[in-house]
Structures are given as structure tokens and as C-alpha cells.
Subunit: 419 residues, 2 copies
Amino acid sequence: MLAAALRDGTAHRRTTFEVFARRLPEGRRYGVVAGTARFVEALAQFTFDESALTAISDFCDRETLAFLAGYRFRGDIDGYCEGELYFPGSPVLSVHGTFGECVVLETLALSILNHDTAIASAAARMVSAADGRTMIEMGSRRTHELAAVAAARAAYIAGFTGTSNLEAQRTYGVPALGTSAHAFTLLHTDRDGPDERAAFKAQVEALGVGTTLLVDTYDITQGVANAVEVAGQDLGAVRIDSGDLGVLARQVRAQLDGLGARNTRIVVSGDLDEYAIAALRVEPVDTYGVGTSVVTGSGAPTAGMVYKLVEVDGLPVEKRSSHKESHGGRKQAMRTCKDTGTILEEVVYPYGRRPQGESGRDLTVDIMRNGEPTAEFDLAAARERVKEGLLSLPWTGLKLSRGEPAIPTRIISPPSHQE
Amino acid sequence: MLAAALRDGTAHRRTTFEVFARRLPEGRRYGVVAGTARFVEALAQFTFDESALTAISDFCDRETLAFLAGYRFRGDIDGYCEGELYFPGSPVLSVHGTFGECVVLETLALSILNHDTAIASAAARMVSAADGRTMIEMGSRRTHELAAVAAARAAYIAGFTGTSNLEAQRTYGVPALGTSAHAFTLLHTDRDGPDERAAFKAQVEALGVGTTLLVDTYDITQGVANAVEVAGQDLGAVRIDSGDLGVLARQVRAQLDGLGARNTRIVVSGDLDEYAIAALRVEPVDTYGVGTSVVTGSGAPTAGMVYKLVEVDGLPVEKRSSHKESHGGRKQAMRTCKDTGTILEEVVYPYGRRPQGESGRDLTVDIMRNGEPTAEFDLAAARERVKEGLLSLPWTGLKLSRGEPAIPTRIISPPSHQE
């Protein structure tokens, strides 16, 4: 595409590409934008070195190779902040520049936004279901080794308390949290058999009584007894990773209380998703450890966003063969709400033509101008945005069951060419 | 865990950790191992530099930091080759060394194997459904930006023809294939309206008549007419990306034949998965472009493998609180088959104790000895293994519908300690 557009001169036309989702994942009522900051960061490094140019020299002509050798994005970007809710048709990101400089960004923009948004959107449902309890993201081992780092970040944006992924702490400052594995208990086995107490003793000596002991390697009741015997009544927490977690949490709570370990918390883990988390809400659970379901988007591993050319030299363009697929023209968006703060409608309008007399919060912000970032990215602010976003939803929007988007999207068409 | 094990001396015990799947993703009949070579490659770089050590110095004691500063895996690894089929309980990878050197590899091993295996397993079903037709992996934009590269590699192992991901070509030599996007056609729009012919002309001039023209931006029948008019009867291919692909493929085939473009191929794309691919088998489709479903594992984005301590100082260990979860002891595996080559059973036995008098193909090979790779990794060989593996399945194993694993796994327990 780039080669052909350079050849016929169209590569230099001014274009706008828009990132949006035609629909939310099936049955979802809202999505949470994440990845924008990672995209801006990646964009700064999106250049073509000798090795890259050599790799494509077989099928790229000289003009294309020369274009890529000098490539650096110098256009403008605007869109939604990280942590903002989005709905079908929300113009999550708009990229402005020449066709040549914008078209090569499709995969970078979509990979990052589709992945991070999928995780944040699933994570927000879990956070909402957990109703204020501590949430540890521990799914690194169930997704690609670097996707894991981005997933920890996205889950944190959505409201998770921390992650077991140390690289996410180093790279993004996501708080590192963790427990121990069955392997550590099993390690304390010799010819006389297993010795759970020795494992607990070693852990407490290394990490103090505030640590979390995993009590379900052999017999849970014995495990809890061993844990309190070794660590005392000030033991930080016990973790249960198997069995009927609700029943076990109640039993373990009673046992801990009976042993005087009233402040020892209960951590549960083991194939938890938003539904299992919600079902455990009535149980004496203090912390959820969530793995597979959060890093795989709990049934929706991609946000399904697309990157579509919507404007060429000021003219709106759109695919015609299936009419509802895209809406031409550069856009902005705002969200209307009731006096109570409950949101009513996503209003998407042609750039610079904010509907007169309608009040609403502006959603589109400047992200980049002339290739330089203009927005500040702050995980704490993104977390705050998710929190406010969830509070702003109509009550049906928080339901975990399958349904329609929580609010409708109204897309205002650009003025016709005659205007 | 590492800190506590270093403190009480158990970190130096000789251990075996095993990577296996307790079950296949729901309804799947087989899985395809992928990622082993990437894991071995990553392992060579798995060390802790100053920056990494500083990042964890808050909560790691001096002995732990010193251990990590000098860390390099020096143990042994054996397991299944890439491209090998696997079933529940197959010992896909066994890692041998001290507890300290093995326990820190859990996330690295599982991330890579769970991701790549999930993709290869889904991709193999698609390849099988496509029955020999060309398959292009084009899902990069629907998964994390680096997971995309690994996904292209895994899909290629499973039998895909190539990928639209250029980085996968550069890094792994996966053939790069691709078409153009609607954006390119839409770009050719001016005040007089869209000009599809101009777009096709530019593409043919840059890439020759062997290129693939995307014909469904406006009206497909007109698009096909324009394509043949511009490129002539030797046009390489047309792509259809929307609508009822079966019906459209037939119409377009008839139109192309009528225009004398009898050798022009038809490429279809647009939310294809193994079921859609199978449904199009009777249609005149030459090439499938597959995106979202392959890079997200078509409903099973992770293989769900675990990394479990199974042996300590020669003693088998296993979690007891839920009996079926793991089987202690270091293992090897073989696969029995009928004279026709159809496979019968996965036999998993204690290391070095191959069942007497049973014939079968050995599945466990040396991968690393004393921290040095001993296996050669070759994508062509892995592709061949998948091909042979699919041929070896009993016919029910190739069914796309939900079912049981194609063959049972027999796990032979280690001899008791008294022996």
C-alpha cells in the first residue's frame, strides 16, 4: 500500500485514521480504554533501522525504503484518556497526518489498544464484583511473556491492587504483591515424608509473620493449624487455592478465629473470574488472586477495535459495501449525563462542531501534536477515571449478565459537501 | 520462596519441575506443542542485571540478591518437540536442577508455552479444516504487539502458509504474505468522489498484475470488473472481506471466469475461524486470511499448562488435597499406535522405566544439558511433525465438534519407596 501510494503521489494526502470498536464484546455493557500511553511510548521508537530495511528490501522499492529510512511520526493524535469508559462507535483514538505516515501505524496502534483495553475492560468487571476487596493480578504465566507485563498494567488501571509480575513493578510502578506456591511446601519433603511446618517456618523466618501462607497443599484444616502454630496469632494471611472456596473460606475463618488469629486475612485463588468473585461476595474473603481470566480478557481476549481511514484531504470517506461499518470524517466526542451524574448518551460529532446547547463532558483530548506527546500519562489518574466511570454508569451498566451497552451512542454525520 | 529456601538450605535440593496440562481446552481433542525453542532462547537471556536487582532490592535479602546476580540456568531440560501433539498429562517439558534455579523459571516457561501452544493448537484445527488451501495469518492487530510475532510463528508451525507480520519474517523466517486494506482504496477519493480504478491502477503499477486486489470497498461486482479491467486476465487474486463469503465467492468466481480471468484466485477474510473455514470448503475459495480467531486461540487463549514440582532429591512429591491434580516423579512418555499408524494411547512412565514389551514412539527428547541446548530447533521439522501428527489421529480426533481427547493417557506411577 505504501509503495503504491508513494508511486502515485497519494501517500502525501492529509488523512485521519480513527480507532474505534463497532461493538463491545458480546454482552458487555461498557469497555475501559487502556494502552494509549504505551502506544505513545512505542511510537517514539517506531523507526526503521538498517536491519529492518534489509529485511524488507526484497519486496520494497527504493522510494519506499527511503521513506521508511526517514520515518518518524510527525502528525497529531487525539482521543480518549486511559481509564475512560467507551462504547460502540466511540472515537477512542484519531491519528492525523499524511497517508504514508499514518497507514504504517495500524498494527502498532491496534495491537496495543486491543490488548490493553481487553484486559482493562474485563478487569473492571472483576473490580466492580469484588466491591472494594484487594485484588492481585497473578496471570502472567497464562499469557505471552511480555503481554503479561502490559496486562498487569491494564488490570491496575482498572482498579486491581497489584500484580505478581515484578517487571510490571519495575517498568510501570504497579505494586508487586504475591504469595508462595505449592512447590515451596512440597520442597520440604524428605525420606520421612512431607513437612509442611518446616516450609511455613522457613517462610516466616525469611519474610516475617505478616506473610501469606498457602494452606491447601495437604489437608487444609491441618494446614491452618500448622500456619498459626508456626506464625502465631499475628499471621498476615492464609491462601486457599483449591476446592469449594466459599465453604472453605467460612471453615477457615471459623478456625482462625477459634485459634485467636482474628486479624489473619483469607486470600483465595484458583480460576476466579468476575462471576466467581461476585459469588464469593458474601463469604469471609479478604483478597482475590486472579490469573487466567483477567489476562485473557475473561472470554474477550481482544477489544476488536479497528483502524479506519475516515478523512482524506478534508473529505469524509467510508466503506460503502456494508453501510454500518464506519462513519466518515474526523470526530470528537462528549458524554451527557443527568444532574445526578448518571451518564445518558455518548455523542460523537464532526470535529469542531460540538452540538449547540447540549451539555456534556468532553472526551476527546490532545495526545500528540507534530509528533510530540502533549498529554501527561499518569496511572493514578487513569485509575481514578475508571472509578468515576463505574460510578457514573446507570445501574444496569454494572450487571455482569449479558446485555446491551449501558448507554447509546449518537453519531452526528458530517455536513454534506454542498454546505 | 527463593529467599526462604536459600535461608533454610532447601534451595539447593535437586528437583524436577514438570510442565503439563491437566486437561485440554474444553471440547478439544488434541493440542499442538509450540514455544519450546522460544523458551530455550529466552533462557539464555534470563539473568538479572543491576537494574533488575535494584528493582527488587526493597524486599529481597542480600543472599537472594547475590544468588540472582550470579544466576544462569545450568540444569537439564527434556520434553516434547515443537509440533508434537499432546494430551492431558503429557509431560511436555521437564526442568531439572536445584530448587533455586528451577523455581524462578515458572513464569518464563509457562508464559511462552501456554501462549504459543494455545495458538498452534487452534491453528492446527484451522489448517485441518482448510484441507490444503493457502492460509495467511493476519491477526497481529488483535493481540499484544509482541505476542503477535510469536503467534505468527506458532501458526506457521501448525501449518499456516505465512503471515502478514513482517517482524515474524525477520525474526523467524516465516514467509510474509499480505494484501491491501480498504484504506488504500478509500484514499483514492477526491471532490469528484471515490476512484477505485485509480487505487487498483496504483497497486498494479507498484506490485505487478500478480497482486491481490481488494474488491469489496464499494460494490463487489463493479470492484471485480474494475480489477480485471485494470490488471487484465492475469490478475493474481481478488480479496473479499465482508458479506456472505460463500455466496460471494461463487458469484465472483463466475464473474472472473466470464471475464477470462480463470486463474485469478479468490482470497476471503473477515472473522474466519475453524468452523467458518470448514463451512467454506465447498466454495471456490483459494486462500483464507485468518485474524482474530487464530491469534486468540479460537476460544482458548491459553493452553492452561502448569509447572509443578514433581520430584525432590529423587523422591516423588505431589499435592494431596485434591488427588488428581498432579502425579509425582520425573517422567518420560511414548505413544503407541496401530500398524496403520493410527495412534492408540499416550503412555507416561517414570523416568528410565520404559514399559517392557510395549512398542511405541518415544516422545521425550533431550533439550538442554548443563544449561546448554542439545536439541536443534527447526521450523520445517516442527511443521512436518504437526502434519504427521494430524495424519496419525483416529478420525474422531479431527472432528471440530466438542469431544474427548482423541486418545487416552495412561500414567504409570513411580515405584513405591519400599522397592
